[in-house]
Symmetry: none
Subunit: 216 residues, 4 copies
């Protein structure tokens, strides 16, 4: 690989600062994590968005959460066709190897991926409909969420509703994986749907009895 | 979705603690991030492993890094076939929409995904060869890394070398995406390959001149 | 302008060194910054003093901080009289155009401007009282800080206290600008008062509850 | 001051990292700087812009440059009227107290202040003409630069030329200060005009013989 270049100096400096402080103070824990392996209690599926920090919100330290991050925190349905499925691979590893006790799907406000899906489905972004659009094809997963919010006229309100639908679609798809369903039905694992308002710092969770998201 | 259950109490409690402290102290920044959108400088591709915290190592806060996390920090090659490609979608969004200046691939020690690949390729884990194994099919991406380390007899040493190969394979595959290659060749984006020793806290970066990883 | 002369050779040499190394390695980031514009998270108001490097202390790189530097890191009160106000102009641009989330006022030990203010107010430097003294008139801004430290007999201790008062006076004056007050009260911007001990490397921040500066 | 709030955690973390590494490694120098005072060789007048780092470009360390930063690196003319003049105060201190050997005015590309001046003078930003606009009144200093570039039709080219005019206007105004003129004419201080292309990393200096800026 002839293309790799040296890390920017400010990151090198910050890394050395971390090594001399946070690492040095917690060396024992890091060594134990390396020697004994990880035993995360939960898998979190969140968005790549730079504004979403699940470890920060939940005060989590190294070793607590197995975290998969993709565009719009989406889980595709089970499809064991021998092709590449990065999200499904992460899921399989978390459930079957690490045996996590919880899977948390964390959506968020101001999601660019969901906005793209809305634009695509409403005809405002035809380029996302193209076969070659990775983002478009990925956001196809949320089309059911677009359909289910058809009665919301205001675009901003509908997009916000679609962000919560992204969580629900993922929860539904999670249950199509036999190993997820087995773990849930044998009560060794639970599923959780969350939505974070970035600006307000609010956290809502899906309440299946009321069929709405309510503030935590 | 009838399967979602309430968030465990300890997470609810920690969330409320975060809201009252870190969020409250930094409300201004969160509101700005929500109102003005994200402008992350770099995309980081790291492993889902609970022991790898890129924001911690680099003293990064909300808004700095667009982070994709999957098993073994792998990037598949460009393949615009209209199928679902979560990693490629994240990449497309980071490069074309967010216009990040850097893509950092961060590998790490004690990687379970890489260990699985070694076991699969060396015949010790035939179940990973099955079509239905999501982890196996995903780790197929690292088969070239297994081949290239054939001269290392010691399994632990070979696995450790394969962890660095996972970074190199990803860097190679990154360059198969036309939008990545264009950004790199027009010098508006750089690629960086890192490997983190979890227990020792060391950080190594790939030096393309010497063709080895060297300590930062 | 007939008076400009060529740059000293040592600076030319260092510039070429920077161009060949730091610039070259980070070209992508510099190009992005030029093409996409700046999005600094904070404005920092610090002293011109050659010993104060805010970017160094905070591991900040190009693009992170919008920095105004003047004698003794002072902010004058709001006075929209149509005259020239360099500090107020910087402030207006940072808050209204760049929409920074934080304003940090960074004072420091051994400040020559503050020492001058002490000498002027205590009668030891009558020349600074003259109308024609730019430094004297500028340091008039800190007279309230001289008055408020009247109970400290030791000159060195009083000067050190006045360095912290310079930070407080600036914070008070900041709140006289309607656009600053609006941003603070609508919780989209926060104010921070810091004092750096140059020799010891300590950093203190003002705690409004305790009404003292405490070590970070 | 009841409005100050605690420093964001990521800055606290980075500061501690700096203290444990860069400060710790250079403690002797910081202590000496504190005990013996500063003896900077040059004063630099640059823009507040987050993309301009004069210490980086010139490989300067703590103690080398006395740095004043304001919008568009402008120096107003000498006007000892007893009013507040922050830039003139910095200048007076640098020349009369610190006795710097050089004053460097560093302009740069993509300057928002200069762009504002162009918009104001060309009628596109009437709000900047208002008495209450601090940025507008400050940028009045550059009106001569707008007039002198009247023959450049292309707005981008004219703005770029005005960025260099900002340096020349400042150099001209510098010579209106008696203490600057004395130091220059008695050959104990030199003036330098620079312009930095942020994206390309180029540095140009004003050549008074050719009356143009040429690459360093």
């Amino acid at each position: 690989m002839q293309y790799a270049t040296p890390l920017p100096a400010y990151l090198v400096q910050r890394y050395h600062g971390w090594k001399a402080t946070a690492y040095n103070d917690n060396k024992a824990w890091y060594k134990r994590l390396a020697n004994e392996g990880q035993h995360p209690r939960a898998m979190v599926i969140s968005c790549c968005d730079s504004r979403v920090h699940v470890t920060s919100i939940f005060g989590a330290d190294q070793g607590e959460f197995f975290i998969h991050r993709n565009i719009a925190n989406l889980v595709p349905p089970h499809k064991p066709d021998g092709d590449l499925h990065g999200t499904s691979a992460a899921l399989e590893y978390a459930v079957n190897v690490l045996k996590v006790a919880h899977i948390v799907v964390l959506g968020h406000s101001n999601c660019g991926g969901v906005k793209g899906c809305f634009d695509m489905c409403s005809g405002a972004a035809p380029e996302l409909e193209e076969k070659a659009s990775y983002v478009g094809r990925w956001m196809d997963l949320l089309r059911p969420g677009y359909e289910r919010t058809a009665d919301i006229a205001d675009p901003a309100a509908r997009t916000s509703a679609m962000e919560r639908e992204a969580v629900l679609v993922s929860l539904e798809n999670l249950m199509t994986f036999p190993f997820v369903r087995d773990a849930v039905e044998s009560e060794v694992m639970t599923l959780h749907g969350l939505w974070n308002d970035i600006g307000e710092g609010d956290l809502e969770q899906y309440d299946p009895a009321k069929k709405v998201f309510v503030k935590v």
